[in-house]
């Protein structure tokens, strides 16, 4: 089971809380899937008044671990300010760190990410950085104090799945002891299963569930796929080969009939 900064989770499904048709449907998706973590995005103007508090309370009422998110931040300063706000609103050291570098793909600004990760880690935060599969950046993030890495599968909200299998496999091999989470880009449960089969510890997704016609059923489907992928990985899957290897012995079988 995934272990992030000393907290062991019951499963590898981390679910976002944006874009659902209603908070009631959001709550249903969490109930059906038993997702262990809720991510919630904060912007700086939030948390200042009574009306803003009500939605945060609904998220707290889900009764799962809360991972606040600096979604939509484009600079180190903005991300750090949002992280501080999040710590106050949700009373947690956890922060999903997003520093967006490019508007069309929403890919991370990895330079700003490393800097923000260092600042926040030194300030006592437990940082979950949204990064690419770049091994050098990953190493810098670990040096900056991160103990979890969250590479993208594909651009946020694209539903494209695992775009760079080679890179993700290399990352898993390179950092065997670091908890790794596929964050963003998943559209289907089969893609989540594939991530778990690669040996990732968890997946984080939002749009694929929230924008499905039946979010609760889709969340349930993801939970089952994650369980399947994790079981498969633990069961030591066979290696693929080019030649057929019949499962029924052919020796002794009559070949002239």
């Amino acid at each position: 089971m995934p272990d992030f900064y000393g907290t062991t989770l019951s499963n590898g499904l981390m679910l976002g809380t944006a874009q659902y048709p209603s908070p009631a449907i959001l709550a249903d998706a969490f109930k059906r899937s038993a997702a262990s973590v809720a991510t919630v995005s904060l912007r700086r103007e939030s948390g200042q008044d009574r009306a803003g508090q009500d939605f945060w309370q609904l998220i707290r009422d889900l009764g799962v671990h809360i991972l606040p998110n600096t979604a939509g931040c484009h600079s180190v300063k903005e991300a750090v300010t949002t992280a501080h706000m999040a710590r106050e609103v949700f009373d947690t050291k956890w922060i999903k760190l997003e520093v967006i570098g490019e508007e069309d793909t929403l890919q991370p600004d990895v330079f700003g990410l490393v800097e923000a990760a260092r600042i926040l880690s030194e300030d006592g935060f437990q940082v979950f950085p949204y990064t690419t599969e770049d091994l050098v950046v990953a190493d810098r993030l670990l040096q900056a104090g991160c103990e979890v890495l969250m590479p993208w599968g594909a651009p946020i909200g694209s539903g494209l799945g695992l775009n760079n299998l080679f890179g993700l496999r290399a990352m898993r091999a390179h950092f065997p002891d670091v908890p790794l989470v596929i964050d963003a880009g998943l559209g289907l449960p089969s893609q989540a299963a594939a991530a778990m089969e690669l040996g990732f510890d968890a997946v984080l997704l939002n749009t694929a569930v929230a924008k499905a016609g039946d979010p609760a059923s889709m969340a349930d489907a993801f939970a089952k796929a994650i369980k399947a992928g994790q079981l498969a990985n633990a069961a030591d899957p066979m290696a693929p080969r080019d030649m057929a290897a019949p499962s029924t012995p052919v020796i002794g079988k009559a070949f002239l009939t």
């Binding site: 209603s22 908070p23 200042q48 008044d49 009306a51 016609g213």
Partner: protein, 331 residues
């Protein structure tokens, strides 16, 4: 039956008053403001009477009950335009249009020449769209004013008072239609921030509401006549600042510009910001506690659902029919 006090003269209060009056009751409307204005959510409504489109993300009762709205508003006001509504998407997001079509009813697909015939000012920017022929739109402020005028003509008294519903309920039957103001007594009510603009752009002519689907910035634009348009609306959970954010302003205007570049020349007449009152399933509630009936949670569906909700309140009072939207009753 003695006079019924209705507190809150927004769209919910006015519709409930009309429905009760039509059943022969005497009503008085009490509001903390002398007249409807920028303090009320309904002042900033889009005015789309589009139950089928709402079905894309809203639950079934919104579609079914919303179907009562067009005829109701057309019977009570002269503010309704029955010209359907239109949904388009930029070419790169055409899968969103297909999904919208799958999740809604009451539409037909229209392509190039027919789009131009229906809305010449959309030009050839959209190759495909969905036309919801039976939907309509209204001018919200005109509709509210006309409803108020008709109520006054029928003898309804309007009183300016920052009234406490509990105090009124001690005297007689009272209906709390205060929207988000009722948060003090309805703890689970939440505000969903909406930001919208009113534009003047006489060089663009549109006959009906247009929704443009977009993965990040879905917008709708509703013609108000005389070159005036309402452009909306953001849906922001957990943030209820009093003013529009720069981001929202940029995104709304960029989306209008994408719909028709002539909107780049539009003048921004008004900026509206308010909190829609909503319960966790975004459906309305009718609750009875002795002499006090609470009507709330109309969310983004004020004009769409207020007629059906008002009918249910009347049925509860006159026919003792328990409304489907009623989840608490301690009469």
């Amino acid at each position: 039956m003695s006079e019924i006090a209705i507190i809150g003269a927004g769209v919910a209060g006015l519709c409930v008053a009309r429905a009760l009056l039509d059943r022969g009751a005497q009503v008085q409307l009490i509001d903390r403001h002398a007249d409807i204005g920028a303090h009320a959510c309904s002042w900033w409504a889009g005015g789309m009477l589009a139950p089928f489109c709402e079905g894309e993300s809203a639950e079934e009762p919104v579609v079914r009950l919303g179907c009562e709205a067009v005829d109701w508003w057309a019977a009570k006001t002269q503010a309704v335009h029955r010209r359907g509504s239109f949904v388009v998407s930029p070419a790169r997001d055409k899968s969103d249009l297909a999904r919208f079509a799958r999740r809604t009813q009451g539409h037909r697909e229209v392509t190039g020449p027919e789009i131009v015939a229906l809305e010449p000012d959309l030009g050839d920017r959209f190759s495909k769209g969905l036309f919801f022929e039976d939907e309509a739109h209204l001018a919200p402020r005109a509709a509210l004013a006309q409803l108020r005028t008709s109520l006054v003509a029928d003898g309804t008294e309007f009183i300016q008072d920052d009234a406490d519903p509990d105090v009124y309920a001690k005297r007689g039957l009272t209906i709390d239609c205060r929207g988000f103001q009722a948060k003090d007594q309805l703890k689970e009510l939440r505000g969903v921030k909406g930001e919208m603009l009113i534009l003047s752009c006489p060089d663009v002519a549109l006959s009906r509401p247009i929704r443009m689907l977009h993965p990040r910035v879905p917008i709708y634009i509703v013609p108000r006549g005389d070159g005036i348009f309402m452009l909306g609306a953001t849906m922001v959970e957990g943030h209820a600042g009093k003013h529009i954010t720069a981001r929202a302003l940029l995104e709304l205007l960029s989306a209008a510009y994408a719909l028709n570049p002539v909107f780049g020349e539009a003048e921004v007449l008004e900026i509206g910001v308010d909190s829609r009152p909503a319960f966790s399933d975004n459906l309305p509630r009718i609750r009875r506690d002795g002499n006090l009936i609470r009507v709330n949670g109309l969310y983004r569906h004020g004009f769409l659902l207020a007629p059906a909700v008002a009918r249910m309140v009347a049925e509860l009072i006159f026919d003792d029919i328990k409304p489907e939207m009623m989840d608490e009753d301690t009469a």
